[in-house]
């Protein structure tokens, strides 16, 4: 049996409407010399499309993953110095940052472990965020796909 049609519009539907209206109604109606308004409208299209397609906030999940990684590095003296084991997102991100910073300029096994086990996770998490926000860079520059 088909899902019942929702009574209310979803946020994604509204965001798509904003983007389409801006792109196909408002932008073509702007004066040729309205450069700033055109740039702002295209940026808003990018922002509305992002709002329509992005997933839930990943901050807590990322912090949990980093806490798990650091928890496995119990013998690492840098982690022991940088992080007290508090798994709140703020403490975890502080600890991860401190650990990466303390490893800079060191070549011992503890620093190497930070760079080989912790750092790649931090970079991968950023890449996952960038995968969803990258179209915003194009919108900022006045370019849109489609």
């Amino acid at each position: 049996m088909a899902e019942p049609t929702p009574r209310a519009l979803t946020d994604a539907e509204i965001h798509r409407s904003v983007a389409e209206t801006l792109l196909h109604v408002i932008v073509p109606a702007l004066r040729d010399d309205a450069d700033w308004a055109r740039a702002a409208a295209i940026q808003l299209v990018g922002l509305a499309r992002y709002a329509a397609t992005r997933g839930p906030d990943v901050s807590e999940g990322f912090a949990e993953e980093l806490a798990d990684v650091m928890a496995t590095m119990a013998n690492n003296e840098i982690v022991a110095t940088a992080w007290g084991g508090d798994r709140s997102p703020r403490s975890v991100m502080d600890g991860a940052g401190r650990a990466l910073a303390l490893a800079v300029g060191r070549d011992d096994e503890h620093a190497v472990e930070i760079r080989s086990a912790l750092r790649p996770v931090v970079v991968r998490q950023l890449d996952e965020e960038l995968a969803t926000t990258a179209p915003l860079v194009e919108a900022f520059r006045g370019r849109l796909d489609g």
Partner: protein, 319 residues
Amino acid sequence: MDEAELAALESWLQVRRGSDAKISEFDRMATGNSRENWFVGLSDGERFVVRIEQGGVFGTSSADEFRMMKAVQELGCPVAPVRWIEPTGELVGQPFFVMDYLDGVATGRDDRSMAPALVVDLVRRLAELHRTEWRTRLDADVTAGDATHAAIDRWHRLYRSETTVAIPLLEEGAAWLHLHAPPLERVVIVHGDPGPGNVVHDGRRVIAFTDWEFAHLGDPMEDWVYLVTMRGARTMASDEWLATLAQVAGVTVGADELRYWSVFNHFKGACANLTCRRVFRTTKPMPNLALIGTALHQTYVREVARLIGESAREGREGG
């Protein structure tokens, strides 16, 4: 700006100029993310640009920018003459200053093309800025030994003031920059954002450098590498830029300097861009600020990480 603010600005200009000329034209100029730039035409034919802050975007202030522009103007560098400043924000909701409007070509906001002659003149003029004897016009206690470290700390402090949660790759970036900071022979005036898009020109010659909000005292390599790898990256290839710098300004940029200042400039950009997220959430919900504060910020953090990772793989310990 609403009608009441526009009327207040008109009165303010009349007092400053000792004239009863009215505002006859008032148009938003299609440049500037850190500031709103408004073209103001007056009934007596005078033309100005009103440059208005936007809630602390990039952690820079009108007062500092005004002071630096006034100093470089007195030192003979190409800049729009600044006239008056309103630093309190009481008149139009944000601090602003007024400068002369200059005839010339201001390249489009995303156009990075430049004629070869203009490239040469830009490099020559930037080198002249770096050579100025700034101590005759600016009071500062910055030394060659601490200028770069002070700049790293400035941007690090700014990012930490914008978020309660650390960004691990920026913590690593700050540590890496402190560790590898190159020695500096002479502190100079650094524009901080030079290149195509931030210059008014006549097609062949620079009339004025614009957008001085990042100007400070520091290492000239910050400007050169920014020009080559960031603002001028789509103007021509890095090798062409480096050859031009050597030929026109006698500036040699080594591979280590290129990497160091690329890390620095992306670190600076990542920290500065984060301010836009706060301004978007609080005083100015414009889409450009949302985009700079999220996607552009993340792109810069990623570049810091890439460059430091590349350095580590090439055998420099700890990145």
